[in-house]
């Protein structure tokens, strides 16, 4: 475990992964949630992907 933390510039390296996944994850979650909210208001018949 110490070997993982002790890598050079650990903060930047891990931080960049965290930043990337957090940002796209948040965007993905917002997208799905927005889709659900809209989906509740639209007839299923109109949804061309079903």
């Amino acid at each position: 475990m110490t070997a993982l933390i002790a890598i050079e510039h650990a903060g930047y390296v891990y931080g960049s992964y965290v930043l990337t996944f957090a940002a796209v994850g948040a965007f993905a979650w917002r997208t799905v949630r927005n889709g659900r909210k809209l989906g509740d208001q639209v007839d299923d018949a109109d949804k061309y992907w079903t």
Partner: protein, 259 residues
């Protein structure tokens, strides 16, 4: 009979209802994305070795490079969608919505790329930013697509939005080579030290190249997943706008009759 737009449709049993924008295809895609992302973390942060010159900083590239490639891909899709909307006979709004969704995703990827790139630059070059052709053009591309998204929200009918955004989208395709070329001419005036050579991508082979490859696959899957969801959501948004318009028109007509 009038229905309010914000109440859920209650006439189907909840279990059978299509809740949102997911389908079996997107669920499969989603699972594949998560699995590949897991591989990316494992290889990027674990199995792959440190670089000879950059040491551990190279690991950042396994997320940084995929995000910029996908941002570029997203913007290409936007341009293609714009062109298809304008130049096909049907002028299908589906192209417009795909273009818009792709641009949103591209902007998010681009923002992440710029932020992570600064972190990488800090370690490798000692500076957060430098004014070379690639970075400068990328920054301007980023701002241009933010402008594109703002144009999409200017208002008007769906067709007006589509036409306007498609024109802007294609103008960006015209503008970017000009920007890139002029910045390159500009920076070639200043002899850059080879230490800060941003075009000299490091030699990757073996596990390093594999990690990069995994990253590209993972983010491509993610992009497609996001694009499908977002385009469908935009389609529903347009439907609701139309429905709102119909309700308003009906109310207006009813007023006229009542007088």
């Amino acid at each position: 009979m009038t229905t309010t737009d914000t109440e859920p449709i209650a006439d189907e049993p909840i279990g059978n209802r299509q809740h949102g924008t997911g389908t079996r295809a997107t669920r499969l895609l989603g699972v594949a994305t998560i699995i590949t992302m897991g591989w990316l973390v494992a290889f990027g942060l674990g199995f792959s070795p440190a670089d000879r010159d950059q040491d551990e900083a190279v690991r950042i590239l396994y997320v940084h490079v995929p995000t910029i490639w996908l941002a570029y891909l997203a913007f290409v899709v936007t341009a293609i969608g714009s062109g298809l909307y304008l130049f096909t006979k049907k002028h299908s709004l589906g192209f417009d919505r795909a273009a818009g969704a792709s641009a949103e995703i591209g902007v998010v990827f681009m923002a992440v790329t710029l932020a992570v790139g600064m972190m990488w630059g800090r370690i490798t070059w000692g500076v957060f930013w430098q004014w070379d052709a690639r970075l400068t053009t990328t920054a301007l591309l980023f701002v241009s697509y933010i402008g594109y998204l703002a144009v999409r929200n200017l208002g008007g009918s769906h067709e007006q939005r589509a036409k306007r955004s498609a024109v802007v989208g294609l103008l960006i395709v015209l503008e970017i080579p000009l920007v890139h070329f002029s910045v390159r001419m500009w920076r070639s005036l200043h002899q850059e030290a080879s230490v800060l050579d941003t075009d000299g991508d490091i030699d990757m082979d073996g596990l390093m190249l594999f990690s990069l490859f995994v990253g590209v696959v993972a983010f491509t899957l993610l992009y497609v997943w996001l694009l499908l969801h977002r385009t469908r959501a935009l389609a529903m948004q347009d439907m609701l706008d139309d429905r709102g318009l119909d309700v308003a028109l009906a109310a207006r007509r009813a007023e006229g009759v009542a007088r």
